[in-house]
Symmetry: C2
Subunit: 209 residues, 2 copies
């Protein structure tokens, strides 16, 4: 479980403000999550998410002292680009990034909860589909939805996926899953906090691609 | 036809050596070709091709005086990485880039030649499919091939595509196509020369993704 657990998300403070620097550090390890899926088909998603992170980082680095929290960035952009906002800059990048993060969260949670297709216990399609339907589907037009269904066939077996999460180490499935549960605590809290911020600031859009 | 014709490829010298710097300048305008296809689905391909170009450019800029021609780069990498070559560095990037360039060439040539589906004269699916089958299909596994067939539904109407190639200017279809024919002269010669170089240096691979 090196991959995930070596890079735990930090516990949030009581006001749930997310420190930009710590967040960027933590999510920088997310793109390689898609390598665990084992097929080059997913490199496309990896670069989309990587692009989101780079966009946010680019804005942050322009003035780290001003952009201490993610909310500082979103509010500054609302001020600076009233006409386009929220479909602009790091606000847009974080809007999409949070959906990818939610996808991963629901997928891991579903595995940790033992949800499975009893007829195909070593497939993760039910878990991936659940994550897709809850996190992304409504933001995708029918062509991308159809592409998702084709890409689903490239999803790895559960045993291989868990092994990849543990970087090929010989970890027992149950130990791996308990590490996943541990990882999900701060991770889920962080993703939830970003969603709450978007609701609160009225920064969410529901156009589909 | 601003997009294409403003950035003609140069005529090759008699020995067909391709000047790296001029080539990189010319192909830098290729990624935006995929914007002409009109759907965000194709941004994925745009970034793949853009990645190829950046990889080659990165190698070139390390020693422009050494890498005057594309062949200089490919030969230097063969020397430097005998074990991995040709699946390495700019050699690999150019191997894939030339396939994307060939795809565009065949698509444009097919349109210029007036090939069409008589039942759907304003669709370009027959032209896109021809280009795909000749340039890329054999390098794609069944999942990516299936994704291609789904993505095909996002291809634009011919009239819109030609308009986009002309950057929305009101150019008559026949004028646009004659500009395309003009563009294809040096472009096709350049793509052919890269293919010949790969054959000649035994640098071609046929693994599929
Ligand atoms: C040769 C034949 C091939 C033919 C071509 C085939 C092309 C196939 C393309 C399929 C789509 C790939 C997924 C990418 C989708 C992306 O389009 C969306 C929106 O992407 C956002 O768009 C914004 C503008 O609207 C900004 O540019 C954002 O960029 S910005 O940073 O600049 O602001 C950008 O992230 N992101 C998404 O939907 C996010 C996806 C998250 C990850 C989902 C995990 C799913 C796992 C599935 C497992 C089975
Ligand atoms: C949320 C749900 C979404 C689920 C996920 C969906 C994902 C869909 C992914 C579909 C594939 C998209 C096309 C990209 C394919 C690429 O995989 C290939 C090989 O790409 C190469 O791979 C090498 C290593 O083997 C190096 O990394 C190269 O990189 S390197 O520079 O580092 O060396 C890289 O270009 N390029 C290709 O096949 C080239 C494609 C050229 C353009 C083709 C035009 C087709 C137009 C079609 C019009 C209808």
């Amino acid at each position: 479980m090196a991959l995930l657990l070596d890079h735990q998300f930090k516990e949030l403070p009581p006001d749930k403000a997310i420190d930009t620097k710590l967040f960027l550090e933590a999510v920088s390890h997310i793109p390689s999550f898609f390598d665990c899926l084992g097929s080059n088909v997913f490199s496309v998603i990896k670069s989309d998410i990587n692009g989101n992170i780079m966009k946010i980082k680019g804005v942050y680095l322009k003035d780290p002292a001003k952009y201490i929290t993610l909310q500082d960035i979103v509010e500054a952009e609302r001020e600076a680009h009233p006409a386009e906002w929220p479909k602009v800059g790091a606000t847009l990048a974080l809007m999409w990034l949070k959906r990818g993060l939610r996808f991963i969260q629901i997928l891991l949670q579903s595995l940790a909860d033992g949800e499975r297709d009893e007829n195909n216990p070593n497939l993760i399609r039910v878990n991936v589909t659940k994550a897709y339907e809850e996190a992304l589907k409504k933001y995708h037009g029918w062509i991308v939805q159809k592409i998702f269904h084709v890409a689903l066939h490239a999803a790895p077996y559960k045993s291989n996926f868990l092994k990849a999460l543990s970087k090929g180490e010989e970890v027992k499935e149950e130990d791996c899953l308990s590490n996943v549960r541990q990882f999900l605590v701060n991770y889920t809290a962080t993703v939830d906090a970003i969603y709450e911020m978007y609701t609160h600031l009225n920064a969410e859009l529901d156009y589909s691609v």
